[in-house]
């Protein structure tokens, strides 16, 4: 890629939403990878304009977001709330940037590909609107493991329950969980009477929160907003995004999304059914050989993945692989992935690198 890119001018990269939780991890991710970039710009909400960042050794001053910001930008990584992204992603594309959008706003658009480099890299070229969408963090937690297994055994059904971290609600989510932990710590009687944690936290911190109820010493089976028939938007996203990335529009999917008191890194309990008989040892070997999946799975030593061992690292950590005893062709497993890193920043940067290579070839 470097040799190809070096023939063309180095692409100009824009980070939009650069001061958020994903934006901050994007800078860490860029610093760890080959620097193929020319100019790097950053934009964010008005209150953060003027902030000075260092991105890949360059001093970058965060700008106001204007249409002109995108003039001369080759690739824009956009991490904004969905309604804001729905406005700005098309503006950026109109100004000539290839947009990689981390919001859910355009993921369902048939003219916007949903790309995971380990699964469907060629889809980066299929961008009639000049926009590529990044899947949601929960889908990204499991999608390359599912891609590998689908390649071997043909996925037909997926039943998942999630254990999603506070950082899925951004910096505000992480801060709120830390605030709540400080309130409950030392109250050793808590967690035994109805609503005792809720009352103390609401008394100390108020009810204004990124979460619909206290998260410390609790789990919340409600992420996103109400969709039809009792489903949440988050649960339907998992269904739609998994189908789109794997190219399986009729894949049967059922998801229950639950927030847990973890700062960062989502986990998913997966029950996956295939068209062909699946052998656990062969499935494990396929995951071991997948470049971005680490298998931690030794029942003898109680080895298994956890979010705290995963957070801050690039791969997904999979374990607890077992044949579902009563379900033919079905594998159960547990998988953890850093929702800010692969679940956001890393996948965007990987897609940006594919686009840069594509632009260099075209140039």
């Amino acid at each position: 890629m470097t040799s190809l890119a070096s023939r063309a001018p180095r692409p100009t990269l824009a980070l939009v939403g650069a001061t958020g939780a994903v934006g901050s991890v994007t800078q860490q991710v860029l610093a760890m990878r080959a620097d193929i970039w020319g100019e790097i710009r950053a934009a964010a909400a008005p209150e953060d304009a003027g902030t000075e960042l260092t991105v890949c050794g360059r001093d970058v001053v965060v700008q106001h977001l204007t249409p002109e910001f995108f003039d001369g930008v080759d690739i824009a990584l956009v991490d904004l709330p969905a309604p804001v992204a729905a406005v700005w992603a098309p503006i950026a594309a109109e100004r000539g940037a290839v947009v990689i959008d981390n919001s859910s706003a355009l993921r369902g658009d048939p003219d916007v590909p949903l790309v995971v480099p380990e699964v469907n890299p060629l889809q980066v070229r299929n961008r009639p609107r000049g926009i590529i969408a990044n899947p949601g963090a929960t889908t990204l937690t499991m999608i390359d493991a599912l891609g590998v297994l689908h390649a071997g055994w043909e996925l037909t059904e997926l039943v998942v329950a999630t254990y999603q971290a506070a950082s899925g609600a951004g910096r505000a989510g992480m801060a709120r969980l830390h605030d709540e932990l400080e309130v409950v710590a030392g109250h050793r009687e808590l967690g035994q009477q109805p609503g005792d944690v809720r009352r103390l936290i609401e008394f100390e911190l108020g009810t204004e929160s990124p979460f619909p109820a206290p998260l410390a010493l609790n789990v919340l089976p409600w992420i996103g907003t109400a969709a039809e028939d009792g489903w949440t938007t988050e649960e339907l996203k998992i269904r739609n995004e998994t189908r789109k990335v794997l190219g399986l529009p009729d894949l049967r999917v059922s998801a229950t999304c639950v927030r847990v008191p973890v700062i960062s890194t989502h986990s998913v309990a997966v029950h996956a059914t295939f068209a062909r008989p699946i052998d656990v040892d062969e499935a494990r070997q396929a995951l071991v050989e997948a470049p971005a999946v680490v298998v931690l799975d030794d029942p003898e030593t109680a080895e298994f993945p956890t979010p705290n061992d995963t957070v801050g690292s690039d791969p997904r950590f999979a374990g607890r692989l077992r044949q579902a005893l009563d379900f033919p062709n079905t594998l159960d497993f547990f998988i953890c992935g850093d929702n800010l890193r692969k679940g956001g920043a890393l996948n965007m940067v990987q897609v940006a690198e594919l686009v840069a290579r594509d632009l260099a070839v075209v140039a």
Copy 2:
């Protein structure tokens, strides 16, 4: 029941393991219910002998556990570790007590019924060994909701993922989670680097823990011990106990058991398939009418059950009811139940009351 019981002498009740987490809740539960008991005795591990308790207004001194302790006891509630219970439950039965055993030691014995009063109350009479087993707390979290739904639509498949509380590991589990919370609180940088929570907790508290890894700011997909083929004993218990209580020896069950940083109250994400088409409104109505299930399920107001709203109360709290979009005859829902109360103490006391009524009829 009182009128029947009043014709016979009031039964003598023994609490074995009276100083543990379940034993303590058993005393709270007994205090809230009609007092049908005569003498009440208590026994516990040697280091707790001599402890003075108040049980239903009676002063009770905790005794050493000896075979003679059971002489004259009508009903013994036994909450001991499984290998210890395997020894003492038969001794108690031999001395004439009807034993209600909360351990997993004898749940698989075909001559030991597994009783949930809301589901299979008549099984209390089928006790050839004089022993009745209490199901595990995770099974008890969902079993009466499943019983109601099975009665209406005939359950055929069950895929569950659990969110199990620290108190499943007893007082030591609750204390460890509180200890860990005190260590991590205020360290607002934690939860973003691989193993950062693990290193701090192990440095401050050591690695000796009721849990196989740090639980604060983490989730642990490992409960119980290794069984065959990568399964844990906890996951197989859910399969075996659900089949036995519902009388469905061929029910297809797959469970993933995960510990979460909640003090008390287990939650389960349930994906349940039935022989007949299930309508969500009819299913909700059936659960509303179930005496021990409270339905909290209004997507419009983001109403859903959480463990902290459930803990310390008797019913199971169910919500997030929805038709699985791609799976015929399948209902997804989320349910919370206090694992020390219904999941331990309350079910034992309810079974004891059924046995007391049975003994009174016989007398």
